[in-house]
């Protein structure tokens, strides 16, 4: 009997060893959704309660873990608008004001169903404590994330990660009351650069107003771009 148990244990070891830790899952998620530096062309379409939609075209720049800048190119009514993150600080530059003002992480991103931190603060390793919990599917891991600080977008998140390639599949986002505020579906996995695959499409569903959802599509992305640190300063906004 002991020999059988020993044999079973030996057989199970490789499988156990392949099981990633929470930190590995979060590191993988961060490297997919928020690589250390990149330049991306994206399109966001917000669908409202009445079924109409608004589409925004943006260029995104990221450097290090805490520097992010977005330039709005379309539609004409917001062209020239910019959003900047540097550390825990966020600013928006409004062309008609000819100046920047501070905004908060949990403010809505351009009136859609993402908030600012969803887009500008993709670093779950830094912002959340993670725990592996049972998933609702055999094909996915489920990581429950609890916010480390109030600057995060949500108080807790349930993140579902595909076992086969560790790609994110869906997310559920909760507020302070414990109520689910948003849910996200990740899809259209594309290899944008050799060895770099990510979901090109994220649909954020508003769980409180079911008719509302916002779709964020990555059109192109270039990793390891060399952008001067000055591009991530308040003085550079609107320049």
């Amino acid at each position: 009997m002991k020999k059988v148990i020993h044999l079973l244990t030996l057989l199970a070891l490789p499988a156990l060893a392949a099981e990633p830790t929470v930190n590995q899952l979060l590191a993988k998620y961060d490297s997919i959704m928020g690589p250390l530096s990149f330049e991306a062309q994206t399109q966001m379409t917000a669908t409202r309660e009445d079924g109409t939609s608004r589409t925004y075209v943006m260029k995104m720049l990221k450097k290090d873990n805490d520097k992010f800048r977005i330039y709005f190119a379309e539609p004409s009514s917001v062209k020239g608008q910019e959003v900047l993150r540097n550390g825990d600080n966020l600013w928006v530059y409004i062309p008609n004001l000819k100046r920047s003002t501070r905004i908060a992480n949990r403010d809505s991103f351009q009136g859609g169903d993402f908030n600012n931190a969803d887009v500008l603060r993709v670093n779950y390793q830094i912002d959340y404590h993670g725990t592996l919990i049972p998933s609702d599917s055999e094909d996915t891991y489920c990581v429950e994330l609890k916010a480390k600080n109030p600057d995060t977008a949500y108080d807790s998140i349930k993140l579902y990660i595909r076992k086969s390639d560790l790609m994110p599949v869906k997310g559920q986002y909760f507020g302070t009351s414990g109520q689910m505020i948003r849910s996200a579906a990740f899809s259209d996995y594309q290899e944008f650069e050799k060895g770099y695959t990510r979901p090109a499409k994220v649909v954020m569903q508003n769980e409180q107003v079911k008719a509302r959802k916002t779709e964020l599509i990555t059109k192109s992305i270039t990793l390891k771009v060399d952008v001067p640190v000055q591009r991530f300063t308040q003085s550079d906004l609107g320049k």
């Binding site: 004409s76 009514s77 062209k79 600080n89 062309p95 008609n96 000819k98 300063t233």
Partner: protein, 486 residues
Amino acid sequence: MRCLLFIGVFSGLWGTLAVAHAASPEVNGYVSSRTSFTRAKVTGLLPTEDLPQWTELLELNAQLKVPYGSKGSFVYADVSAILQGGIDAHGLDAEGQEVSLNARDFKITQPAVSINELYLLHEYAPWLNFLIGKKRLTWGSGFSYNPTDLLNVRKDPTDPTFQRAGAWMTRVEVPLEKYTLTAVFAPSVLKQVAGLPYQYVLWPDWDKQDDQAHYQAVLRFYALVADADLNLMLFFGNRYNDAFESKFRYGLSFSRNFFTDYEVHLEALFHTGTARDYVDASCVSSGLAALGCAQEQRSPLEKRHLNSSEIYSKVLVGMRRQFADESMLSIEYLFQQDGYNAEQYQTLVNGLDLLRQARREGLPVNRIPGASAFLGGTSQDGNPARFSFEPQRRHYLFATFQKPRIKNDFTAQLVLIANLEDLSTLWSPSVQWSATEWLTLSLLGFLPAPGLNAFGAKTATPGEFITEYANVPFRFRAMFEARLFY
């Protein structure tokens, strides 16, 4: 002549941009129509003869950005061609009855060009750039009002996004990761036609109003410290938009988020003396006293504290909060030390009351020394203001509440400006509809409320109480704006 200037400016812009080695020029802008009805207050202290009740303003705005050379260098232009007209001014006839003055030739029917911004920014290196041209620089953290803004055309606090015009300048900037050092030299524009400047710094020989150089120089240090924006500013100016000569002024601003969602800010300006006009009480105590001053060619307004060694401050503190439903509340308090106290405001009202009596008697008020300064002036630069905010007293409150998507793409906003001394207020409600991604329709109102008589000044005849926002030349104003983006 004006048409030629229009054509000249726009073809010049296009030409400049075409010549530039363009990477990918960006073009956008808007066409806007503003129709407004202002119900004139003909019985007030301020004249309404030049205030048409119906006005239409058409604006064609173009914004062009042409990058060249290295990544951070570009040429930028934000120019508006403005055509406006007005009809149906009202005043009083000899019997004191309200009459329409349709026959008057209104100055505002002239077309104009507003060069909001037009500059070249050359980036020698990411940490060093040079700018020459006209640009709107706002370093202060105030939302409705910026005490440290000594350069730009004044903005309208009921709509801070409306005024886009900046100042002509040369600027050198050294941006670093957490700090920025900026040096600016801004020459005064002393002569312009239809918004196009042609004389800077010194008055021309054919109109030598003084021999002085008119300019403002600024050094600014910005730091991002402890998650706060901190600006320290040192100004040195000579006859730049005011009467100060060789004057140092010191500014600071602070902005930081507290408790994650509350943005708190402070902005302050300090200097010795003040360029504010104070009314000589001895000139406005009676009609005879005023005549005496006029005969002596003595202005009833004097800058009596211009060279004072007393330190004057102008301080604005405020907070802004966006709520979960995306509504936004901004509250700001402004203190200006050189504002009129109750007695000084009473003398101002006395002067205005005498001018009103003189107008009713048919006297040539415009020829009275200092009369035009009494009535205030508007800048010739920038977009025509919806509302000109020139605070006269010492304590003010600004409050803005904005709620987007009250229904679909409708945004509601309420702006309140309150004089905290006489409790008079100006309310500006508005509704904006983003009908499509390229068309915005807005309906705005301006409604002054008189406040408490007990805190106001009183005219000699017929003994009416005057508060600051009761003393505007209109009873209400409504405006409809259609803006089409391209």
